[in-house]
């Protein structure tokens, strides 16, 4: 029987883009705990180094790398270093995100900056690494981290009475991520390269909690009555990276407490 455990990445080399934020750190923890040899790449290598120190001391195979996803040469260089150091690339997690827009009225320049990182950077990264996986007999698995804000619009009711709000670019590039995922799933499927997307709902931030009126209202928008904990996203990502998901490709897996099911 092939490996059916959705909880093990033992023996797999995985590259994660973005690892300094709340979700990124939780993913590093989940992937490391599942036994992956994990390379975490970010603009900010020093912060990654600091973040993985504890896991490394505990014996996990965690490695920090620097990358600029808007530069094709930088992404290709990262691919080459990973192949040189670890021999192959079994998995990729695209969790990099840039949020240059601060509100709905922000400048066109801020929109353009967002597209450069979030759209162009995604495209460069996926094509570069899917090509590398397609050249391997065993193929590989890519998991993009989108958001339910790539599936549905935001309900303004959530933000009433708070300083919180929405930005337009996020809805655009997370929605685009969903169909770019399907496109590459089709293109690379015959090469045993699977491409899927995980769409988290809102994640509770224990270090800097969202304001109370928002938390209560967000809970009402889900069927489990609460925001996600960051650690709850990792299960879906580990599962899709693992061989337990070997017949799953082109899928969007929301981890949203039923937000989009109703």
């Amino acid at each position: 029987m092939p490996e059916s455990s959705p909880f093990s990445l033992a023996g797999k080399v995985v590259v994660q883009f973005g690892g300094t934020g709340l979700l990124g750190r939780a993913l590093v923890d989940a992937l490391g705990a599942a036994g992956a040899t994990l390379v975490v790449a970010s603009r900010d290598q020093a912060t990654i180094e600091k973040g993985i120190a504890t896991g490394r001391a505990a014996g996990r195979s965690l490695h920090a790398e620097q990358v600029d996803i808007t530069a094709e040469g930088s992404v290709a260089g990262l691919r080459d270093r990973v192949l040189a150091a670890h021999g192959r690339i079994d998995g990729l997690v695209f969790n990099a995100v840039s949020r240059p827009m601060r509100n709905e009225r922000d400048s066109v320049a801020a929109w353009e900056e967002s597209i450069k990182v979030n759209a162009t950077g995604l495209f460069i990264t996926l094509r570069t690494f899917a090509d590398a996986m397609a050249a391997q007999p065993a193929g590989g698995s890519l998991v993009n981290i989108a958001s339910i804000q790539g599936m549905v619009g935001a309900n303004p009711f959530l933000y009433e009475g708070t300083a919180m709000g929405t930005v337009p670019d996020y809805f655009f590039h997370k929605g685009g991520m969903l169909n770019l995922t399907r496109h590459y799933a089709s293109l690379y499927g015959p090469k045993k390269v699977r491409v899927n997307v995980v769409s988290p709902g809102g994640i509770y931030n224990p270090d800097k909690p969202q304001p109370e009126p928002f938390l209560g209202r967000y809970g009402q928008m889900t069927m489990l009555g609460r925001m996600a904990e960051a650690r709850e996203i990792g299960g879906a990502v580990v599962f899709l990276l693992s061989d337990a998901a070997s017949y799953i490709t082109g899928v969007n897996l929301p981890v949203d407490g039923g937000y989009t099911a109703k």
Partner: protein, 257 residues
């Protein structure tokens, strides 16, 4: 990894069938306490044949919806309330061509596919909600999402019938309704939505058909039965604790392009 299911009790209806047996065996290997529910003799044979260690074979005919609550109560009394249930046991295909399908046979598919599923889900979820935990996984199909292409089914094959896909679409909506209803009580409902997993009899009798099915997927192959086990374990486990109301498609990309 066995820690994930150690001490957990999982019921699988249709647990000795083609796909069900792959899930039963994977859960047994992970150390779950498994109740394998199937028609007379089938679960016993599976346990014997594969030397399953923590699986209890049980005979249950889910088609008798009126008798189902009492049968479930008996199982709960004997084995305790399950932490998770995978429900695969529903015969849900008339086997008729559209032109020849009698209305009575059309209706029968819905009675067999939907009514026992509704009764089983409500009966167990009402008890699970008291302890605010539980995960129930229903089985839909890609044919509850997209229609079968009749050109795939050359004679003597009968195109996958209309009652099958319509009842699978109904299962998807049943699942969403139950997820929304029981979510506030901590009970999760999701569907597994398989693509082409023809059984060995179809595979050996109709290799040309299997080749046509493979071409409809991005991975260019049909699914292997073991490939349904991992997704089932994911949805049954705490690794999916914030996933509810979802149809997890396992179709090699059939519906992605």
């Amino acid at each position: 990894m066995s820690a994930t299911f150690a001490g957990k009790s999982i019921w699988i209806t249709g647990g000795a069938g083609y796909l069900g047996s792959a899930i039963t065996r994977a859960l047994d290997a992970e150390g779950a306490k498994v109740l394998c529910l199937d028609l007379p003799g089938r679960a016993e044979a599976l346990v014997r044949e594969h030397g399953l260690q923590s699986t209890v074979p049980v005979t249950l005919d889910v088609n008798d919806a009126a008798a189902l609550p009492a049968a479930l109560d008996g199982l709960v009394a004997a084995h305790g309330l399950p932490d998770g249930v995978a429900h695969l046991a529903f015969a849900s295909s008339s086997g008729y061509r559209l032109e020849n399908l009698p209305a009575t046979e059309f209706q029968k598919t819905f009675e067999r596919a939907l009514t026992p599923t509704f009764v089983l889900c409500r009966h167990l979820a009402e008890q699970m909600k008291v302890r605010a935990a539980g995960s129930i996984v229903l089985f839909a199909s890609m044919y509850g999402v997209v229609a079968p292409d009749p050109r795939l089914y050359a004679a003597p094959l009968t195109p996958n019938p209309i009652d099958y896909g319509a009842s699978k679409a109904a299962i998807l909506q049943l699942m969403r309704y139950l997820a929304v209803h029981y979510g506030p009580h901590g009970v999760r409902f999701n569907c597994l939505t398989p693509g082409p997993f023809p059984n060995p009899a179809v595979q050996s009798a109709h290799p040309g058909f299997v080749g046509e099915l493979a071409k409809k997927t991005a991975l260019n192959r049909i699914g292997r039965k073991d490939e349904i086990a991992g997704p089932a374990l994911f949805l049954l486990s705490d690794a999916s604790s914030y996933v509810t109301g979802h149809s997890l498609v396992v179709d090699g990309g059939w519906t992605a392009w």
